[in-house]
């Protein structure tokens, strides 16, 4: 008897869920709950059951009746609602009503991505002055007094009386000034990422007088060239993709020794060599092991600690990304809204 009840229930529920209209549902209702319905019939047979079992079966049968009634009513609501929605005409191909959406500048987007990559391996982003003393931009970075970077035609200087110790006031030509700011805090080890506006006195297809750099600095015990290589490669693979490879070449900077330049395989020809690259490679930027004179200028013992640093152009890595196709750096700062809305 119990089994019979259960099978009636399952049968009823599945039939109810399959109904497509209120009319169909009405028929099901009659089939199960009507005067000659299956449940009613069953209940009529109740007296034939033994006295002991009668109350139990009776209550199951009543419960079953309730479940079926509820299922029918739920289905009825659903069917009626569907009817309302289908009766209202709508055209899915009409434009949606969109919330406002602006655009972040591509440089902001690049800075965010770069920051995410380096914070992943333990770097902390910092911010230091854009207008700086000569000491931070040049002298402490081991630039000799007569170095060409100090020329009027390379760096912007501010009209201000030079400080006796810290020298002239200038617009930072590189984020490397942040190395000195960071090291003079006197806390080791260091794993710094300094991203900032930088300024150089030039303007052409690949230079704007204001641009952005990101500078990494790691100082601690036993920091070696292999650590620099690993870190830079981590960035290259993360930012440009795992199919791109990097290489380091000898180079020269005042504030690092040894110094390197980092190339990545060209994204267009994938290293085969093409019109856009140099024998399959694109120059990414400079790096090196922190020069002992720089550590000394920041009161760090170069016999005990070593470090590496790199400083690259944000715009440069952005433009070297696959598929972006920006061929003139100046467009980034044209603030043409038709350009910006593409990002």
């Amino acid at each position: 008897m119990e089994e019979k009840l259960l099978s009636i229930k399952n049968n009823a529920i599945s039939l109810i869920l399959e109904t497509k209209s209120v009319k169909e549902l009405e028929e099901i209702k009659i089939q199960f709950l009507g005067r000659n319905g299956e449940i009613t019939k069953l209940l009529k047979e109740l007296p034939k059951i033994s006295k002991e079992e009668r109350p139990k079966i009776g209550s199951i049968a009543n419960g079953l009746k309730n479940i079926i009634e509820e299922a029918i009513s739920t289905r009825e609501t659903t069917l009626k609602k569907t009817k309302v929605i289908t009766s209202r005409s709508f055209d899915v191909t009409e434009p949606g009503i969109r919330p406002a959406l602006g655009h972040l500048h591509p440089v902001t987007q690049a800075i965010r991505e770069i920051t995410s990559i380096f914070t992943q391996i333990g770097f902390t982003r910092v911010r230091y002055p854009e207008i700086e003393w000569d000491w931070y931009a040049f002298t402490a970075l081991n630039f000799p007094q007569n170095h060409p970077a100090r020329d009027d035609w390379e760096t912007f200087f501010i009209k201000q009386q030079p400080d006796e110790k810290k020298g002239t006031v200038l617009l930072t030509p590189h984020t490397s000034s942040g190395q000195i700011r960071e090291m003079e805090k006197g806390e080791l080890p260091i794993k710094m990422l300094n991203i900032a506006k930088t300024y150089r006195r030039q303007s052409d297809v690949s230079h704007t007088p204001m641009f952005h750099q990101f500078e990494g600095l790691v100082v601690g015990e036993n920091i070696a060239i292999s650590d620099l290589k690993g870190t830079l490669n981590y960035f290259v693979k993360s930012y440009f993709g795992e199919n791109r490879i990097s290489r380091i070449r000898p180079y020269h900077f005042q504030f690092t020794e040894p110094s390197f330049e980092i190339d990545i395989s060209c994204g267009v020809c994938l290293g085969k060599g093409c019109r856009l690259c140099k024998e399959g490679w694109l120059e990414l930027g400079g790096a090196g092991m922190v020069h002992p004179n720089v550590l000394k200028a920041c009161h760090i013992d170069p016999e005990k600690y070593t470090g590496f640093a790199f400083g690259w152009g944000v715009e440069r890595v952005l433009m070297m990304k696959d598929g972006i196709k920006i061929d003139d750096l100046r467009i980034l700062y044209s603030n043409d809204l038709d350009f910006l809305k593409q990002f």
Partner: protein, 664 residues
């Protein structure tokens, strides 16, 4: 700086079976960067980038030595065929007259010799080698000077000996206002402090180490030349060359400083070429004035230091082999290397152990060093709430999703765009143009400019987060981040912009924001009231100014906020207040009040009447009626009509007394 060298020329001094492609690959990774290999007739040209500290490599011979070293270390057969030239011994019959005078502070070395020559054409191989190097072939004599420069790395010059009045060269600094005409016919007025040669009669006859002058150079009629190799103080050369834009190859080389020892190579090779290619006959003794000779340096280096800086163990024998092959003298003492940098290699950035480690590591091959990540612990803790970049991102994202587009404008502005007293402006001493002289004190003018540049857009919403700059006495100028925005559309609404700022601040949990009407312009000052403000305290201490909203015209409204102050007050702290179990009572009161009474004031007054009033907002404003939506709610009980009625009465009574306002 770049130089171009023909493969066949390089192979005169480099004996190897390596292909040009192989040579380029190994040099790029371990020495100088070969940016391109191009075909030239049936030969190849290397386009090579040389770093400024290695002017010794701006030569065929320098590159040949490097190539031999790196190829050998890479296991490829290669030898450096070192030039073995001797200076000819000369016994001139009658020494031609020549007076040379100079200031030793300006001169490192000067070599000079008078040679009788016959002007003609250069042989094809000379023309090809020069032209492939980007140097135009002129005649055999001029070609030899360029050929020698490219091959040895030392610039050289020739005068027409017979055009030198008095046969005198007085090398001195120029005086301001002196004029010269260079060999290309251009006239320059010197600003003083340039190294020039004077013929003893106050006439300049050469712009030393940069370019010859028209009055002394070789012509087609020249019979006797003065072959002249000058090695002078580089800072002077840089100044003159940059100031007048005379960027000859000689200037570019000389401003980097060329080792004066190489002058000997240039002299001997030059004499040899004049003899073979221009029927040269030496008619004077060889003059060699050498007041500033470079010194050799000794650097001590330990194996441990090499290995710990490189990050891999390099056998000491390998280091010794590399250094020796590059021309250093190495003496091994246990695990220490005593390295002598010969005078001929001095001035090329070889001073400290790290300089030598660079030589070892690069030739060993950076590609042979593994990649590791620094084992350094993470040095600082991270507090999201104190992280200015987190707040920056959050605010920028909010604006973006409210339809604003971010712009980046130059912080250097013109006088017209500068706001504030000009004499206090942070001013650039050497601006690139008149448009970029002052460091801006406000960001909004730059946004107005962007709006103007994008005139064709009827509706614009833009923002920028950037520094403003202010002079600060003897200290560095103040550099404070400002968040500026601009809304442009037909009938731009102040309330829309105000609403944006209210929500922006609400999102970073800055409350107690007050807007006060500006008196001198259309717009509002935005203030934050201090949580510590007390009654009767000075007004300026009770509030902090956050910025302004300014109505520019019917279509443009701008704002500029002090971002540093936002950072100071922004917080992630949330305080939970339990939700009341009792339902609120909500009602709308239509109030007729005189027009001059400000809505903000009315709302504040209503709110003040009872603590059970938990929300007051403006539902509608029509003519003189303002409808306020009021929510009453208690945490302890259901509010009865009577209780609400009493509060309502109090509100109406106060509004009447204070503002002469009444219920509609």
């Amino acid at each position: 700086m770049n130089i171009k060298i023909l493969d066949s020329w390089l192979r005169e001094y480099l004996k190897t079976s390596a292909t040009p492609k192989k040579i380029a690959e190994k040099l790029s990774l371990r020495s100088v960067s070969i940016e391109r290999i191009e075909n030239y007739k049936d030969d190849f040209v290397y386009d090579i980038e040389i770093t400024t500290n290695r002017s010794d490599l701006m030569s065929v011979i320098g590159i040949a030595r490097e190539a031999a070293t790196v190829l050998q270390q890479a296991g490829i057969d290669a030898t450096f065929a070192k030039p073995e030239l001797q200076l000819p011994i000369i016994h001139p019959k009658k020494n031609p007259e020549l007076t040379l005078k100079f200031d030793e502070k300006l001169i490192n070395r000067i070599c000079a010799v008078v040679i009788e020559i016959k002007i003609g054409e250069s042989p094809d191989y000379v023309k090809d080698r020069l032209e492939a190097s980007g140097i135009r072939s002129l005649n055999n004599v001029i070609d030899i000077t360029n050929y020698v420069m490219r091959e040895t790395g030392h610039p050289t010059h020739v005068f027409d000996y017979d055009r030198l009045v008095n046969h005198t060269l007085l090398i001195r600094e120029s005086k301001k206002g002196e004029m010269i005409t260079t060999l290309d016919g251009k006239t320059y007025t010197l600003s003083g402090g340039d190294i020039v040669a004077d013929n003893g009669k106050d006439e300049i006859i050469d712009l030393i180490s940069i370019m010859g002058t028209a009055n002394s150079i070789v012509t087609k009629d020249t019979r006797r030349i003065l072959f002249f190799i000058d090695n002078v103080e580089p800072v002077h050369i840089r100044k003159t060359s940059m100031e007048h834009g005379i960027r000859t190859e000689a200037a570019i080389l000389n401003e980097k400083g060329i080792n004066p020892e190489t002058a000997t190579d240039a002299l001997t090779r030059g004499i040899e070429l004049f003899q073979t290619l221009a029927n040269g006959e030496i008619v004077s003794e060889i003059f060699d004035f050498y007041p500033n000779t470079p010194q050799e340096t000794i650097i001590t280096l330990s194996e441990q230091k090499i290995n710990s800086l490189v990050g891999i163990a390099i056998p000491l024998e390998k280091s010794i082999a590399i250094l020796s092959s590059l021309g250093f003298t190495v003496d091994r003492q246990g695990e220490m290397l005593i390295v002598t940098v010969p005078a001929r290699k001095s001035g090329n950035d070889m001073l400290i152990p790290e300089d030598l480690i660079e030589e070892i590591a690069r030739v060993y091959g950076y590609d042979n060093i593994p990649d590791t990540l620094p084992a350094t612990q993470i040095p600082t803790y991270f507090h999201l709430e104190k992280n200015e970049f987190y707040w920056e991102d959050r605010v920028k994202d909010a604006l973006k999703y409210w339809g604003f587009t971010e712009v980046y404008t130059y912080p250097m502005v013109s006088e017209v765009m500068f706001e504030g007293p000009l004499e206090e402006a942070v001013t650039i001493q050497n601006p690139l143009s008149d448009d970029m002289v002052f460091m801006r004190r406000t960001v909004v003018p730059s946004l107005l400019r962007v709006a103007k540049d994008n005139q064709e857009h009827e509706a614009i919403k833009i923002f920028e987060l950037a520094n403003s700059y202010e002079t600060n006495g003897k200290e560095l100028p103040k550099q404070n981040l400002k968040l500026a925005g601009l809304v442009k559309k037909q009938n731009a609404s102040f309330l829309e912009v105000k609403g944006i700022i209210e929500q922006l601040l609400a999102d970073v949990e800055i409350k107690n924001v007050i807007f006060k009407q500006l008196t001198d312009r259309y717009g509002a000052t935005i203030l934050i009231s201090s949580p510590f403000a007390r009654e009767g305290q000075d007004e300026s201490k009770k509030t902090y100014e956050l910025g302004t909203i300014e109505i520019f015209d019917n279509t443009i409204i701008t704002f500029e906020l002090n971002f540093g102050r936002i950072l100071k007050h922004a917080t992630l702290k949330k305080i939970y207040t339990p939700v009341s179990k009792y339902p609120p009572v909500v009602e709308d009161l239509a109030i007729i009040a005189p027009a001059e009474v400000q809505t903000g004031e009315l709302m504040e007054e209503i709110k003040k009447q009872n603590t059970l009033i938990c929300e007051v907002s403006l539902l509608d404003k029509y003519q003189e009626t303002r409808t306020f939506h009021i929510v009453y709610q208690s945490y302890d009980k259901n509010l009865s009509d009577k209780e609400v009625g009493e509060i309502r009465e109090k509100i109406l009574e106060t509004l009447k007394k204070k503002y002469n306002a009444r219920l509609k």
